[in-house]
Subunit: 468 residues, 2 copies
C-alpha cells in the first residue's frame, strides 16, 4: 500500500459522504456537515429518513453511495458505525473517519466492534482513521471535521505545524490554545483508537508534505514502537519531530492503560530512545505547542550562547537565572560579549544602562537604542541566539519595534525569540509577533524553554551531520 497517496484522499477529498448528517440541531453529523460547507468539497449527506440535509439532497444508506467517494465521515454510534463502515468500504470509499467512541477504550465489548473494523483495510483497501477520532482539519482548504466547540479555528491556521494527536481532548484544547496566540497549524489529525492509521503513517505523510515544517505528536502509547522510532529518526534529518508521550509516572502509566486499554511502555526506555533517534520530547501540551511554534518559525542557532536584551532589569536577572539552570535538555550559557561588542553597546546605550549580558537598556531607552543593541548582539561573535525581552509599557518604546525585530528575523542572521507581556493585551502582541514571523512567549520560563528546544534541534542536526 502506498499510504501517502492514500492519505491524499484524507486531506484533499473531492467528495465526502457524511453518515449521520442531519437537520437536527446540536447533533455531531449536522455540525460536521455544516462546517464542510466552507470548503469546495462536494458533500453527500447520508441519513435513513431525512430527504435533504441543510438544503442538500440526501441518500438513505451508505449502500447507495455513488462511485468515487474519497472519504466518509461516520458520525453515528459505535455499533451502527461499524455496519456503515463495512458498507462504505464495500462501496470503495477510500478513507473512512469514525468519530464515535465506545470501542476498545471501553472494554472487551468495544474491542469486538473494533476488531470488525480492523479487517476492512485488508479486505477492501479502504483506510480508516479512528474510531474515537476527531478527524482532520486542514486550514489550507477549509476541510474540517472537528465537531467539538473550541477556539476560533481560523486563528489556528496558516502555519507549518502538523499536529497529530491520539487524544481528542488534547487536540481540542491545543486548537483552542492555537487560536489564542497563533500556533500555526498546517494540519490537525485526531488519531483516536488507531485501528488502522497510526502516528507512523502520518509521520511519513508530513515528512513529504512541503508545507509542513515541524511535526508535533501527542501519544499515550506508540504502535509499532521500533518502526516508529526509526521512521521518526529519518524525518528528523529534515524536519523537527516533537513527541509528547504522556504516562511518564507510575500513576500516569496506569492511567494510560485504563484510559486506552493498552500499556504505556516504560518511561525511561522511551526517553532514551527518543534521544537516540533525534526526537525532541515535550512533557505537556503547552510545551509541545511552544516547542512546535519556535521550531516551525525559525532555524536553530549554531551554538548555545544566549544574549539577552531587556528594558526591565528584574526580568533580565530572572532570564539569566533560567538560562544557567542545569537541565536535561540542551544546556544554555549566557554569552560573553567580545570587547568590540561591549564597546559598541556602551556607545549606543544610555550612560546608566548595564551593558553586560543581560543588557539592561533601562526603561528610559526607546526603539532606536533597543535596535542598536539588538544589532550589536546579532553581530557579536560570541552570541548564538538572542532573547528579546520586549515590554511596551516604557514611554519611548513603540509598536514599530515588532516589525523591526521581525525584519531582523527574516534576514536570518541569528535566531531571535521574544518574551513579551502587556496585561490584557499580551495575547494580541504575541499574535502580532507571530504573524510577523517571530516566536514569542508570555513568560520567561516558556521563552527560555523554547530556546532550549531550538538549541537542542541544532545539536541534533550537528550530531547527525557528524554521523554521516
Amino acid at each position: 500500500m502506498n499510504t501517502n497517496r492514500e492519505l491524499k484522499a484524507l486531506f484533499y477529498p473531492r467528495k465526502i459522504a457524511v453518515i449521520g448528517a442531519t437537520n437536527t440541531p446540536g447533533r455531531v453529523g449536522g455540525i460536521i456537515f455544516n462546517s464542510l460547507k466552507g470548503s469546495s468539497i462536494e458533500r453527500i449527506p447520508v441519513h435513513p429518513k431525512e430527504k435533504e440535509v441543510q438544503g442538500v439532497p440526501a441518500i438513505s444508506s451508505p449502500e447507495l453511495l455513488p462511485e468515487e467517494v474519497d472519504m466518509a465521515i461516520i458520525t453515528i454510534g459505535a455499533e451502527n458505525a461499524v455496519t456503515a463502515a463495512e458498507q462504505c468500504a464495500a462501496r470503495g470509499v477510500k478513507i473512512i473517519v469514525i468519530v464515535a467512541g465506545g470501542f476498545g477504550e471501553i472494554g472487551p465489548e468495544g474491542k469486538l466492534l473494533e476488531n470488525r473494523l480492523k479487517v476492512l483495510p485488508g479486505r477492501y483497501g479502504t483506510r480508516i482513521l479512528g474510531p474515537n477520532s476527531l478527524g482532520v482539519f486542514l486550514p489550507e482548504t477549509g476541510l474540517d471535521t472537528i465537531f467539538v466547540e473550541h477556539g476560533d479555528k481560523s486563528l489556528a491556521g496558516g502555519g507549518g505545524i502538523a499536529f497529530i494527536t491520539q487524544s481528542g481532548s488534547v487536540g481540542v484544547e491545543s486548537l483552542g490554545y492555537a487560536s489564542n496566540i497563533g500556533f500555526g497549524m498546517r494540519a490537525f489529525v485526531g488519531l483516536g483508537n488507531k485501528c488502522d492509521l497510526n502516528e507512523s503513517d502520518f509521520l511519513r505523510y508530513f515528512a513529504e508534505d512541503e508545507k509542513t515544517r515541524c511535526l508535533a505528536i501527542y501519544t499515550e502509547n506508540i504502535d509499532e514502537g521500533k518502526a516508529f522510532l526509526e521512521e521518526a529518526g529519518e524525518v528528523t534529518r529534515n524536519k523537527p519531530v516533537i513527541v509528547l508521550k504522556a504516562g511518564r509516572s507510575a500513576a500516569g502509566e496506569a492511567a494510560v492503560s485504563s484510559h486506552t486499554g493498552r500499556l504505556a511502555g516504560s518511561d525511561r526506555v522511551v526517553g532514551g530512545a527518543f534521544r537516540q533517534y533525534g526526537i525532541q520530547r515535550a512533557i505537556d501540551d503547552e510545551e509541545l505547542a511552544d516547542a512546535a511554534r519556535v521550531l516551525s518559525l525559525i532555524k536553530p542557532p549554531l551554538g548555545n550562547r544566549i544574549g539577552v536584551i531587556t528594558g526591565a532589569g528584574g526580568y533580565g536577572v530572572m532570564c539569566a537565572d533560567y538560562i544557567e539552570e542545569p537541565r536535561r535538555r540542551a544546556g544554555l550559557e549566557m554569552a560573553n560579549f567580545s570587547g568590540e561588542t561591549s564597546a559598541r553597546l556602551k556607545e549606543v546605550n544610555l550612560p546608566f544602562a548595564s551593558v553586560h549580558n543581560p543588557v539592561d537598556i533601562t526603561a528610559s531607552a526607546g526603539d532606536e537604542i533597543y535596535l542598536q543593541t539588538l544589532d550589536a548582539l546579532l553581530d557579536d561573535p560570541n552570541t548564538d541566539i538572542v532573547i528579546c525581552i520586549s515590554f511596551f509599557a516604557p514611554p519611548s518604546i513603540t509598536d514599530n519595534l515588532i516589525g523591526k525585530i521581525a525584519r531582523r528575523v527574516q534576514e536570518g542572521r541569528k535566531p531571535i525569540v521574544v518574551f513579551t507581556q502587556f496585561g490584557p493585551f499580551t495575547d494580541e502582541y504575541l499574535k502580532r509577533f507571530y504573524r510577523a514571523g517571530v516566536p514569542g512567549y508570555p513568560s520567561i520560563l516558556r521563552t527560555v524553554r523554547a530556546v532550549r528546544f531550538l538549541v537542542e534541534r541544532g545539536e541534533i542536526l550537528r550530531t547527525q551531520g557528524e554521523l554521516l
Copy 2:
C-alpha cells in the same frame, strides 16, 4: 519610630501634594495627579509656574505647603527631587514618595544624591519610599500613584495579596498580569532603591493589616537580611510569605549588582534560610503570582495526597505525571482511594469511565456526574486535596459547574484547585472561577505547582505547630 502607624499615612493619606503636577500631557506628574482624582484624597498640585493644574489651584514650591500634608509624591528629576524632598521634610510631610530614577542604580553620582535623602528620616521624622519607586496602589480607596501604562488596574484589585516589589518593571507587569485573570491585590508597593522604607517595614505593616491574607515580595537584594528573615518567619505563623529573590545564577547575581549597584547574596544561603524560616520561595514572577493566588484564596490541605478529576483522559495522565515528579518543594502523591470511595465512584460514573485516580469521567459525562465524583473525592479519607480539570467543550458540561465547584470550596471541606482551558475564553473562565473564590490556572504545570505551594504551606504550619 512606630513604622506601622507612619505607614498609615502612606496608605490612607487625607492630603497629598504632587510635586511636579502639571497640565502638560504625558508628563508623570500630570498622570499621577489625574489618577488620584478617583479617590477622596485632597490633592495639592505643586508647580513653579502653573497657577492651576487640572482645575485645582497650585502652589509654586514645597516650601509653601500647608500643614498636615500626609504624603508628597515627587515626580520631578533626581537632583530637583532631592531639594523638593528636603523642603517637604522640613514642612513636616509624613511620607515622601520619590518616583524619579537616577540615584544609586546609576553609579557614584547618583549615590551622592541618594545619601542626601537618607539623612531626612532621622532629621525630620519623615519617611521615604524610593527613590526610583512606582509608589503605591490601594484598590480599597483608589489611591494610585503608578504612572506607567499597564493592564486594567480595576481588575487587579479586591483580593488579599500584598505585593511588594523592588523592581518597577516586575511590578508593572505583575499588575498587568493581575488584570488578566485576577491576581487580587490588597495593595501594591514599589520599593525602588529603598533609601529608607524597605521590605521589612512593609512586612510588619501587612502582617497586622486585617485585609491582607498573603504577602508576595519581589526583591533582588534583601536589606538587613537576618532581621528580615526573623520577621518574615514570625509573619509566616499567621500568613503565607512568598519571596521571589532574583539572581539565583552566577549571571543573575552579576546582573543584580550592575542593575541595583548592590550584592545579590549567595543563592544557596538564601534558599536554605528561606526554608528554615518558613518563607516560601518563587523563582519567577508568574510563579510568585500563581502562588499568591492560591495561598490568598484557600486554606492548605492536611496532607499531600491528591485526587484528580478529569473529563479528558490525556490531561489526567499528564497531571499524574507532574504530581509524581520529584521536586525540591513539597512532594505530592496520587491519592489511593478507599474501597468505599471506589465503589461510590463506580456507582455514579458511566460504565466506560475510569474510576481510578486520576478519575476520567469521560467527555460524555455532564455536570451531575462531575459533581458526584467531586463529592466522592471530598469525602474520601485518603484524599487531602482535589484538582478539578474543568473543560467546557464537552456537550453536557455547563457553566453552572463554576458556581457548584465554588460552593464546595466555600464549605471548606478540602482545598480544590482548578485547571481550565477554553481557547480564547480561558482568561474569562479563570476570572469567573476567581471571583467565585476558586483558584484556577490555565496549564497543568501551573496547577500542580500551585498545589505544591499550598501543600508546602500546610507543612510549614505543621512544623511550626510541632515546635511550639
